[in-house]
Symmetry: C2
Subunit: 219 residues, 2 copies
DNA sequence: CTCAAGGTTTAGATGGGGCTAAAATATACT
DNA sequence: AGTATATTTTAGCCCCATCTAAACCTTGAG
């Protein structure tokens, strides 16, 4: 239904490229919830416009121009997320969706002024780095909580923004960026982990652990 | 090129309806900078959806639903204008154009929270009234500056937002809402008017006078 | 009261993004 | 290597907003 723009495609391709190494038609289709045929069509267009290299049946690779556009969208998205939290008091789990519309506002002056209002933030409310106006971006912070060991203490630096339900749960127990936690125990064979947050213990399953990134404190 | 939405049509029709009494196809086309044929098409669609009544070759009249949608767009537009001025320090002459994009953000929660952040303002930076969430709107304030008489003093309550160039000029000499002025003289036959603003005298032609609305102080 | 002028509507086409179904190609397994 | 399965692309169609050119009213002036 809702129609996707060139910017949307580039953004999602960029984000796929971050984690997987083959960005396939079907991966894009699945992520964006459109048909594979639509993706093929759009890829042709993006290729003609010089945003990516396209080898039929093979996959896709962003050109510097494509990457630049993608990072600009991401920049707008994440700056607006900061605004939504800091000025409009939106709960964390809602900002991603709201920012999906805001990120497409074309005015560069608007973004510049927003960036200034917010004090040139480096990360968004989920802990994701905000690309700069000249198209650079820091690496994502933190290691998966799943890699932490019992007895260690850590600071949450990032949470995945992909699942609003899960995010709502994390919020409700205080598992958000900047929070300090202690890892109490871990059941064997990738079992649940018990962590202490704000003096309260919680048992976390694998899915949850894989949405949380931490800096582990040296002892 | 830039494609107009249903909301755009309703907004412009509403604003035409405020000042003229026959809202014709060509008036809409001219105002929106699209062809008359496009307007005819769109009018048919809007009529089918119950937003207006349409008599071919005659003109158009908004239904309560159409008016409601139009006022909602206007509400969003004007609230964002307040934000652009108060939080992002945009100059007055730029906010109208920037708000043209912001007004189409669909989220009602976003608007509600914005309204709260701004302190539930009643007027936008040009002095135009902001419709309420339940679809009511105050009458526009002020009388044309052209109607004021030499010797009177007045407060500017509203300036037209239609001409950015002119607005830029008004801004540069301080002729913006809330400013106090004195009418010094007026040349005969609709001639130029001399007004004092912030201790400086300016001679204003008819076009300028017809973009400024004032409350004249009793003596 | 006719008819030309001018505003309005229809006809037919474009470009953007989307879809399903069928054809083409790649991969993976025996 | 050969074939079955899975992925990708093509073909053909839809919807939306737009345009130009041509046909169609309305109206107002002679």
């Amino acid at each position: 239904m809702s129609t996707k723009t060139i910017e949307d495609y580039l953004k999602h391709i960029y984000q796929l490229q971050e984690h997987t190494d083959q960005v396939t038609t079907s991966a894009i289709a699945q992520r964006m919830d459109v048909s594979a045929a639509s993706v093929t069509d759009m890829i042709k267009k993006l290729s003609e416009r010089g945003y990516l290299h396209y080898t039929p049946y093979r996959g896709v690779e962003l050109t510097p121009e494509g990457r630049g556009l993608a990072l600009n969208v991401l920049r707008k998205h994440r700056l607006w997320e900061v605004f939504l939290v800091e000025y409009l008091d939106f709960p964390l789990h809602q900002v991603h969706e709201e920012a999906e519309d805001l990120e497409h506002l074309p005015s560069t002056e608007l973004v510049q002024r927003l960036d200034k209002l917010l004090g040139y933030p480096r990360i968004d409310p989920h802990g994701d780095p905000i690309p700069t106006a000249d198209g650079t971006i820091e690496d994502q912070h933190g290691r998966l909580l799943a890699h932490a060991q019992p007895g260690q203490s850590a600071r949450i630096v990032r949470v995945s923004d992909t699942n609003p339900e899960l995010l709502r749960y994390l919020e409700s127990i205080g598992l958000v960026p900047h929070t300090e936690i202690q890892i109490k125990s871990r059941a064997p064979f990738e079992g649940p982990m018990v962590v202490e947050v704000d003096g309260v213990e919680h048992s976390l399953g694998n899915t949850v652990m894989n949405h949380i990134f931490v800096n582990i404190h040296p002892r």
